[in-house]
Symmetry: C2
Subunit: 340 residues, 2 copies
């Protein structure tokens, strides 16, 4: 109802030309006008309850002031803080986020991106990316400014913000080694995701650096970064390598799966088995035992992604930038001296 007032109405009421109204309304061009004129226009506009139609402006300027964000599962607790940081940065510059919960399926993701592009988003943030990802090809072909967050693709063609997975695993393994653990199992994540691969490689490197032998039987792959997948993998791991004294999980949900299996089998944590996670997602300080884990600043990740995208959208930067955040180790109650 209210949205019937247009620049033309304001112009008429103020006795000026529509173009003058337009100029009065944006702070950048307001200085072109006499103070008296712009003051009158502003007054009339607010009296009439005028609200500029952003769609019309977008069509004319070819900039929608809108950014598309593609997320695999908003329900995964790592994403909300990323989104929150991203929005804070974007919002300050007048951008609004179109958030799409796209799931893990590439076909569906492509459809979602297509819809976002049809909506003329000025930029795209993808949190869904696999190491080789056809959806990325699709985005690149569209020529829209693009940033990946949390995960990167193998062929580093696009700017990204990720955590230093090797560093994180290094901190964790150093901690276990210092506690006297020698036989450490790994529950690795999906290897088609950069986090899955990077953390597994980081594990191997850190074991080597600590002079520990990596037992092939003690490296097990989870089908997904999820608690039930962790449960399943933990079962396999403890069957194949019952002598391990510690389990490194590629993320916190997998670590919770380890908790489940340990409880089932009567293994006490940390007395019989130390467990480390990755992410430091909300609430893992409250589980029992409180989880030792690699802390990633997800909010900061989102903010950095926002800044990167902003500079891309303004052509301030050419892209090809990888921002790598340094994680830290949070020692809690799930790790202890290795059992004899």
């Amino acid at each position: 109802m209210a949205q019937r007032v247009t620049v033309l109405d304001v112009a008429k009421a103020a006795g000026v030309h529509p173009s003058t109204v337009s100029r009065a309304l944006k702070p950048e061009t307001r200085s072109l006008l006499t103070d008296k004129v712009s003051a009158r226009i502003l007054e009339v506009a607010s009296a009439l309850g005028y609200r500029p139609n952003g769609i019309a402006a977008s069509l004319r300027t070819r900039r929608s002031q809108t950014v598309g964000v593609v997320i695999p599962d908003i329900t995964n607790p790592v994403f909300p803080p990323i989104l929150s940081g991203l929005e804070e940065v974007l919002d300050a510059e007048g951008y609004i986020a179109m958030v799409a919960n796209a799931g893990g399926d590439a076909e569906r993701q492509r459809l979602v991106v297509d819809r976002l592009l049809a909506r003329q988003v000025d930029g795209l943030v993808m949190a869904t990316v696999a190491r080789r990802d056809p959806v990325v090809d699709f985005c690149i072909a569209a020529g829209t400014p693009l940033v990946m967050v949390n995960r990167a693709e193998a062929a580093r063609r696009v700017s990204s913000v990720v955590s230093d997975d090797a560093l994180g695993m290094g901190l964790a393994i150093d901690h276990l080694a210092a506690l006297g653990h020698r036989r450490i199992g790994l529950i690795a994540g999906p290897q088609h995701l950069s986090t899955g691969l990077g953390r597994r490689q980081g594990f191997t490197a850190a074991m080597e650096r600590n002079g520990l032998a990596e037992d092939p039987a003690a490296v097990v792959f989870a089908a997904a970064f999820a608690r039930d997948a962790g449960r399943e993998a933990a079962g396999r791991l403890l069957d194949a390598a019952p002598d391990i004294t510690a389990v490194m999980a590629a993320n916190d949900l997998l670590a919770l799966g380890v908790y489940d299996v340990a409880a089932e089998r009567g293994l006490r944590c940390p007395e019989d088995l130390s467990v480390i996670g990755h992410n430091d997602m909300p609430m893992v300080d409250m589980v029992s035992p409180a989880l030792t884990t690699v802390h990633i600043r997800h909010r900061e990740m989102g903010m950095q992604a926002g800044r990167l995208l902003l500079s891309l959208m303004r052509s301030t930067s050419q892209g090809g930038v990888d921002v790598v955040l340094q994680p830290t180790l949070i020692v809690r109650a799930s790790t202890a001296t290795a059992r004899a």
Copy 2:
């Protein structure tokens, strides 16, 4: 780059008028055309990589196929499942969600809504609403289809989807009463929110129904639905009413605050003190002891809100509908027989 192709280009390439292209592209109007013509147009369009400009279409049709979602804090675990359900429903009908993390401040919320309206959203979902909320007045004045989710306003002017707070509290108190608890404390939430007020009223009604005396000293108000506020309130509660054998918390985060204080004071849960939460947010099954709580189907809540908004946007319904979801009680390890 790709986005240079327009209806005009397609029309020229296909040897028809732009309006014919437009008709060929939408399934609804396609039947107006000869199969041969529309087939050729579709072919040419895809060959040229044509993607309709949604902004231009929106300007013309005055429908943006876009919905604004205002959330106080996406980082609060109740909201992601709501969002997920909402998007699923909206997405199926071709709508995209603009999600704004607006915080708790009314001034800022109004600004966010203003921006969403400027972007010409076809509808609005608010998860931020207080019992009396100036932002709602603002939205109503704008005349945009509006649905509230999770919380409702006092003066039921707008359609909403909420949980039956009285029922939830009833289930919880019945459970405690059955376990022999007579002196039950309440950590109530903020009373300016419908959930805070409704749960407190539900508590009182349920105590009465069970023939239990409500001790005024044993009802304490938390400043916010947050863990630290719960901690602070739990301290006050246990000081004022040290003889209580159970604490009912108005949500899970408050319940976790109770856990913190109980641990500090050497009270064992559930042996010395039973605790019940509200929401059944993710991970509360993993805390120690696993939290007994009132389960709300947040995803369903989002889906219902989506359907309500859809019918409002299509003028299929007049609004004024309140959808109330029935919660269930999930009994876990934080409640037990009352101590002697």
